[in-house]
Amino acid sequence: MNIASSAARIEQDVKTDELVINMGPQHPSTHGVLRVILKVDGEICLDAQPDIGYLHRCAEKIAENLIYGMFVPYTDRMDYVSGMGCNLGYCMAVETVAGIQIPPRAEYLRVIVTELNRIASHLLAFGTYGLDTGAITPFLYGFRERELVLDLLEMLCGARLTYSYIRIGGVDGDVTPDFMSKLKEFIDLFPKKIREYNKLLTFNHIFMKRTTGVGVLPPDVAIAYGVTGPSLRGSGVKRDVRRDDPYSIYDKLEFDVPVGTTQHGGPIGDCWNRYHVRMRELEECVKILQQCVQMMPPGPIMVEKLGRVKPAAKAEAYTRMENARGELAFYVVSDGTMTPARVKVRAPSFSNISVLPEIVRGQMIADVVAIIGSLDIVLGEIDR
């Protein structure tokens, strides 16, 4: 093709208004296989429509063909970054439907592993958010501590990412004395590291310029879109299921619920606030772990002689729990047989990402990446 004819074609094809770009399913910074269809005018975004479903495995259909206990490993794979939380949600739902009461030691163990997993998940969110804004080093620093958490969990149940440790009726295996001493070491070591992360990334001037005032999510818009978790708390709404609707032993534990502030010189509900809420939640997790380690009673870890769960017909339960990303809810409906009639998973990231078109209008392309990173989504639970 010579230059003259290509020049002629350019005259016809070039449109100088908006450009529709595909931030495609394979992209270094969308957290999983998410496709965002961006309409941009130069560098300013006019619209960003997320297109999900690339990881859809229809786990809810699979659940209808499996007995209740067999579905537990599938719940891990939904929000694979905080698998313990998903396990806990499902097991709580089934136990509510079937009316099973689990021993207190199992409750404490469940809370310990869920909070450890919350720390691991927030460290991953911290590291990848650094990557999104261009700082590559915090990723490695965050993962250095995440390795310690994963080693602890591996010591306990043998797996690093998809645990299936929390089972219907209790937990899988008891802790070793080794685990408790290593856990105490970790609890002593971790607050210093949180201060290190804050020095490295949180209060870094360039990072604050990238995230302050970007993607402001007003609280009423957030609630209308069903946003929950750190994204909602970053907008100033102090709602946490562990406080409002306590499950397991959270009513006995003392911890704060961090919300967004204007201390950094920017509005409540911007990306920096959502990110900072996660960093402060790391400190709260450490507090919870300390209390659990002290208060854990001896005893059995699994209900005796549970066998296969067979709840009453048309019994239903909708249990909500606070996962690392927001409120994870399981709606289990039983039809009297050993397989459920319906398991509906209400994933927090599903509602969180639906708010993207609202908060992206008028921001630049680089901000879209920062906003998606601050919402902290995992495609496994959006698509299930």
């Binding site: 450009l19 770009i21 992209h27 910074s29 560098e43 650094g130 261009g134 490695l140 620093y141 990238r210």
Partner: protein, 353 residues
């Protein structure tokens, strides 16, 4: 290079005498032969130094991130890693996207490399070691560095890729807006040295550490040194200004569609540019090849200063997040340019003798 052209016939005669070969080069071709020799030496040096710099960056990056970096290829320190990477890039398939503009796609890497390669002509490593002692040395270097902009925009446009185009536009905005602070930041030095020739600028800084221009006039030339350094980082598209090739947003920006040897041209141009700009800063502000105490001089001092500045560049890259493009352009026009103008005016008062 002129000396080489003068010495070449003598050397050829010596080679003939020792080995018995009868090489005879016509007199009017001697300068051309000298040019080729110099060009190949410069290109080879540029390539080799880029390879060493890549290894150094990966090792340093590893240590900044609590890990080790390359440790397998080539023994304990992995120093053959960049050679292995070079061989890999060389052997890769030459892909051109089907709807890309083929001639422009092919041409695009060359202006980028050409800009840096030409700049090495006027670049002295020590009193005697340089290709050509131009009396407009620094002016020539800055002029020639702007050829890179053509290569970048050609690459972005010819790739037929919206992301590459956006990356190219960002790169052009960034490079062009930082040319002004960079050009203005050298004015205080030129005013002090009363010459554009790099050799005379360095010679004016002889006599110990306090004679370096940064310390001769700490306020104005010190600030212009910082501004020059920041503007050079932005001009090279190096973090925290690496938005045009921002991995997490644009999947490698303007050179997304380039692979293999074409990509390695962009790569090499960036690393050679780092050495060039650090060397320039060392020559202009830090005394070039002069040592700390009076009377010490030599290429080793120059290399030491250049490596220190390159280390600072690598350090900054692995510590700081990336600036957004409007913040980059804001910094260039509204922060650096006013400060550097103040430095120029201030230094002109001080230099008034």
């Amino acid at each position: 290079m002129n000396e080489l052209a003068l010495n070449l016939p003598v050397w050829i005669d010596q080679v003939n005498a020792h080995t018995g070969l009868r090489i005879s080069v016509p007199a009017h071709l001697i300068p051309i032969l000298a040019m080729f020799l110099c060009a190949s030496i410069v290109a080879a040096a540029m390539g080799l130094s880029a390879a060493v710099l890549v290894w150094a960056e990966r090792k340093l990056a590893g240590h900044f991130q609590c890990r080790l970096g390359p440790v397998y290829v080539g023994g304990k320190f992995g120093w053959l890693q960049s050679i292995a990477d070079g061989i890999k890039l060389f052997l890769k398939e030459d892909l051109i996207p089907s709807d890309a503009d083929r001639p422009l796609f092919r041409i695009a890497p060359y202006p980028v490399v050409l800009g840096v390669l030409l700049a090495f002509i006027a670049f002295p490593i020590s009193e005697k070691l340089m290709v050509a002692d131009l009396n407009v040395g620094i002016f020539f270097i800055l002029a020639v560095l702007t050829v890179e902009v053509f290569g970048v925009i050609l690459a972005g446009w010819a790739s037929n890729n919206k992301w590459a185009l956006i990356g190219a536009m960002r790169a052009v905005a960034q490079m062009v807006s930082y040319e002004i602070p960079m050009g203005l930041a050298i004015l205080p030095v030129i005013m002090e040295a009363q010459s554009l020739s790099l050799k005379s600028i360095v010679n004016a800084q002889s006599g110990g550490i306090l004679q370096w221009y940064v310390f001769q006039s700490p306020v104005f030339i010190g600030i212009s040194f910082l501004i020059f350094f920041i503007a050079a980082l932005a001009s090279l598209k190096r973090a925290p200004f690496d938005l045009p090739e921002a991995e997490s947003e644009l999947t490698a920006g303007f050179h997304t569609e380039y692979s293999g040897m074409r990509f390695s041209f962009f790569f090499m141009a960036e690393y050679a540019g780092m050495i060039l700009v650090s060397g320039l800063a060392a020559l202009l502000y830090l005394g070039g090849w002069h040592g700390i105490f009076q009377g010490q001089a030599g290429p080793e001092w120059f290399l030491l200063k250049t490596s220190f500045l390159v280390f600072v560049m690598i350090w900054i890259r692995w510590t700081l997040p990336r600036l957004r493009i409007d913040q980059v352009v804001y910094l260039g026009w509204k922060v650096l340019t006013p400060f550097v103008l103040v430095c120029v005016v201030g230094q002109s008062f001080l230099a008034y003798k």
